[in-house]
């Protein structure tokens, strides 16, 4: 297989306000102030600022897998939202391969979204069917 136990990958997703606004208006219909307005999120929501929708964080982790393993197929992805991921922050999406099943052609991957402070507001796991080399 084109993946081995212990393989690691990462990428820097774009969680800027314009991208989050695009996600909440064009990709979904979730145009709520907690996602798109820092001031209201602070004043009305008691949050540190506008937060990235959880389903966008999950989509970012799925994209991270596809960037690492182009042509692979995610069979299952499980994400836990532990704390808010802030809009306009600079997180890193990371993954590490924790198990490879050569017979099944699948890999299990641990996933995290880590913020600038080194905290992990979003984490998860995925089972991926890996594209076989021609």
């Amino acid at each position: 297989m084109m993946v081995e136990f212990g393989d690691e990958f990462e990428f820097q997703p774009d969680v800027s306000m314009p991208t989050v606004k695009s996600f909440t208006t064009e990709a979904t219909r979730m145009d709520f102030w907690r996602f798109t307005d820092h001031e209201k999120a602070r004043e009305l929501g008691g949050l540190p600022g506008a937060i990235v929708p959880g389903i966008m964080s999950q989509g970012i982790l799925a994209a991270a897998i596809h960037r690492f393993l182009p042509g692979s197929t995610i069979r299952k992805i499980d994400t836990i939202f532990r704390a808010p991921l802030l809009v306009d922050s600079s997180p890193t999406a990371r993954g590490v391969v924790t198990h490879v099943d050569e017979e099944e052609g699948t890999a299990e991957i641990d996933l995290t979204l880590v913020n600038e402070a080194g905290e992990t507001p979003v984490l998860g796991t995925a089972v991926v069917e890996v594209a076989r080399a021609e």
Binding site: F11, P13, D14, T19, V20, S22, F23, E26, A27, T28, R29, M30, G54, I55, M56, Q58, G59, I60, A62, A63, A64, H66, R67, P70, G71, T73, I74, R75, K76, I77, D78, T79, I80, F81, G124
Partner: protein
């Protein structure tokens, strides 16, 4: 109503069925905003073009909970996470049928006290009834001490 009663009365009961269109512009924007670079999700000209595997998380049924469910029970709860099982590619432009059920209710006790978890499940099928995607949404309520 306690956890065991919620479980007995509501778990496994299908309480909503709604049709959802996988709109091409929405699927493309979802892929772009999440940073998808795999052309199967980012390029409509690709022969295997499809919506990203977590795309169905964006939909909700007409009802979030069963009619008789004590909704105040989970007021003030928070979104604990999502699990997606991809059974088949999500066809762009198709209309899928999503059915809703409460898959589980359970309590956990840890260092920070007791919490109740509710797993809300939506199962999406195509017009032929074939499974496309299962989305579990975990709602968490911190129990009173």
């Amino acid at each position: 109503m306690d956890v065991e009663e919620l479980k007995t009365r509501f778990v496994g009961e299908e309480f909503d069925s709604t049709e959802f269109e996988v709109k091409p512009a929405d699927a493309l924007a979802f892929a772009r905003c999440c940073g998808e670079t795999d052309p199967r999700y980012s390029d409509p000209r690709h022969p295997e073009y499809q919506a990203p595997p977590t795309f169905m998380t964006r939909f909700h049924g007409r009802r979030t909970m069963p009619e008789e469910f004590p909704e105040e029970y989970f007021q003030g709860s928070f979104d604990g996470g999502k699990t997606v099982i991809a059974h088949a590619p999500i066809p762009v432009g198709a209309t899928l049928v999503g059915t809703s059920q409460i898959a589980d209710v359970y309590r956990k006790t840890g260092r920070s006290g007791s919490m109740t978890f509710l797993v809300h499940r939506m199962e999406y099928r195509n017009q032929e009834g074939e499974p496309i995607s299962t989305v579990d949404w975990k709602l968490i309520r911190k129990d009173e001490a």
